[in-house]
């Protein structure tokens, strides 16, 4: 009850922090999609490159976020961005690469060989095959990757409050430093609720983007 009262009293701040959080993750995953999807498509052409890229992306995900922020502070300090927005976005961008690249790669690779052959047989060029057949068929699985990246990084972004990036993590870090369970719990609950809501919204978007003729084939990953 006390917590609920606290949330109501700080509603405006809660909203501001939530929007900050969404924009941080949104910008980072947005950029990650723009880089990850082309990389995922590109590596379908070369198995060795695919292995290398997926390996590197997997390693990046194993780096603890606190460590990653720590590494970036001296590097980004060169351009005066050692803490705050920039390192937070870059960290999320890096973490997002694995689910997006891997899902894109898998989806394009798993397009039915018969459809590939049909697309070649009717005389489509490589670009036409990608644009007209392979990417539309891969969209559900690529979107599932984007969803994974978003949900994963809503959590990561909470930690970015320690390097001054803002967002809902601020409640948590202050809750800890000020020994204030109200702030701590509010932050934690808000992060979880946000993750769930965003996941469902993206699922709805994924369904809309799935080509009509293949609704039954949509991925739930």
């Amino acid at each position: 009850m006390e917590l609920f009262q606290y949330a109501l009293d700080n509603l405006e701040l809660l909203m501001t922090r939530t929007i900050e959080h969404i924009s941080l993750v949104g910008v980072a995953v947005g950029i990650a999609t723009l880089t990850g999807v082309p990389i995922g498509i590109a590596i379908t052409k070369n198995e060795r490159a695919a292995k290398a890229v997926l390996y590197i992306a997997s390693i990046i995900v194993t780096i603890p976020s606190i460590a990653l922020f720590g590494i970036m502070i001296p590097i980004l300090s060169i351009i005066g961005q050692g803490i705050g927005y920039m390192p937070a976005v870059i960290a999320v961008l890096l973490y997002s690469q694995l689910p997006i690249i891997r899902n894109t790669y898998t989806a394009i690779n798993n397009v039915d060989p018969a459809l590939r052959e049909a697309a070649r047989g009717v005389g489509m060029s490589q670009n036409q095959r990608l644009r007209l057949v392979e990417i539309p068929l891969a969209v559900p699985v690529i979107m599932a990757g984007v969803r994974t990246a978003v949900v994963l990084n809503i959590g990561v972004m909470a930690i970015a409050a320690y390097i001054g990036a803002g967002g809902l993590g601020t409640f948590i870090s202050r809750g800890i430093s000020q020994s204030d369970p109200r702030q701590l719990i509010l932050g934690a609950v808000a992060v979880s609720v946000l993750a769930i809501i965003v996941d469902y919204s993206l699922l709805a978007l994924q369904k809309r983007l799935t080509p009509k003729g293949m609704e039954r084939a949509d991925a739930t990953a």
Binding site: A118, L137, M214
Partner: protein, 392 residues
């Protein structure tokens, strides 16, 4: 016209080089269907796919209508060749209309023209355009999907079509229907078609010519009747099956073996006259009675004619069976067995008697080309076989 000149494909595998197609040279005349037939791994599909470069030839050339395709751009080449595959391969993200018009669009037709073409194709494959064009492939049955697959291949009106076991994934009943529909379409379209199959019955039904492959080599390339009558070696013979004589029945029409000589009686003839004619023509059991238009109205039994006085019109039985000149011998043989007859009267389109076909004529036709195994004896035609044949 499709001509293959020493077309060869060697695959590099971990176990060493494998020659999938070994110097294949053959020619399919314009407007004909050539079936590439053989067991799995014999090189028939590899050969087909080298024509539109789905598989790149190691060496050799492909000529289409006299033109060497080596110099053509791969995409241009493929757009000028209809391609149908066993897995159908309709694009699930596209509507039926988008699937059918994919090649016309790639060729840059304008919208009105390709949309009209889609409707035209739907009518050709006997599917209602308004009911189907806006639907997606997943909403259609397998048979309907493969009809669309054929329509997609034909949409840009290519002179040449390649079909890789196109009806292999369809249930037997629908397969027969689609085969018939396709043959009917082909009568008007007159495409030059290469068609891979592993089904000897399909090959005989669909093919103007059949090419038998084994271990990457073209073993025999003949017309179906020639193939069944004179298999080149033991492999071809065993591949065709021990019932290959019966399979030939499908290929021969009544027209080819019918004799114009047939003894008939009229309703006004006396039974004595009927008996005389039965003996004159050497029939054992009965004779056909016809009306003024030469349409069969009954048969008069020899046993009745011997023991009874009177006119044919009062002592006849119904005609068991007649066959049309365009029926195949398989149907005739079946009717003969079912009705315990050694001959069947043949009628034209108006139902008038034009002759008869006898069991002797059929067995003689089939047997005459088996006894020798050589091509020299195959000139024996239907007329010759009939003239030496006793009437029954």
């Amino acid at each position: 016209m499709i001509r293959l000149d020493n077309l060869t494909k060697v695959f590099d595998t971990p176990k060493g080089a494998v020659t999938a197609a070994d110097h294949i040279s053959m020619e399919v005349p314009s407007g004909e269907i050539c079936i590439l037939l053989g067991p799995s791994g014999c090189g028939k599909t590899t050969t087909l796919k080298m024509i539109n470069r789905i598989i790149r030839p190691t060496s050799g050339k492909v000529f289409i209508n006299g033109e060497d395709t080596t110099s053509l751009d791969t995409q241009d080449l493929r757009r000028s060749i209809g391609y149908v595959i066993q897995q159908i391969g309709l694009f699930p993200n596209m509507t039926i209309e988008e699937n059918i018009t994919v090649v016309p669009k790639l060729l840059g037709w304008d919208k009105a023209k390709y949309r009209e073409r889609a409707r035209e194709m739907m009518r050709m494959i006997a599917l209602e355009p308004d009911a189907f064009l806006k639907r997606y492939p997943s909403e259609l049955s397998g048979g309907q999907q493969q009809r669309i697959g054929v329509a997609r291949a034909l949409a840009a009106d290519p002179p040449v079509m390649l079909m890789d076991e196109p009806f292999g994934a369809i249930d037997p009943i629908n397969r027969a229907v689609i085969q018939d529909e396709f043959l009917k379409m082909q009568q008007d379209l007159k495409k030059t078609i290469m068609f891979v199959s592993h089904d000897i019955d399909e090959a005989i039904k669909m093919g103007d010519r059949i090419a038998i492959f084994r271990a990457g080599k073209l073993v025999q390339y003949s017309e179906p009747d020639e193939l069944l009558a004179a298999p080149k070696d033991d492999f071809v013979e065993s591949f065709l099956g021990e019932d290959r004589a019966l399979k030939r029945l499908n290929l021969v029409k009544v027209r080819d073996l019918a004799s114009e000589e047939i003894g008939l009686v009229r309703p006004d003839d006396t039974l004595d006259a009927a008996l005389t004619r039965i003996e004159e023509y050497g029939y054992q059991n009965s004779i056909v009675m016809v009306n003024d238009k030469r349409q069969p109205v009954g048969i008069v039994n020899a046993a009745v004619a011997r023991t009874t006085k009177g006119h044919c019109r009062d002592h006849f039985q119904s005609v068991p069976v007649v066959v049309s000149l365009d029926d195949d011998l398989r149907k005739v043989a079946s009717l003969m067995f079912a009705n315990d007859m050694t001959w069947v009267p043949c009628v034209d389109d108006d139902g008038r008697i034009v002759g008869q076909i006898t069991q002797r004529a059929i067995t003689h036709h089939l047997g005459s080309r088996y006894r020798t195994h050589s091509r020299d004896d195959t000139t024996l035609d239907a007329a010759a076989s009939l003239s030496s044949n006793d009437k029954e």
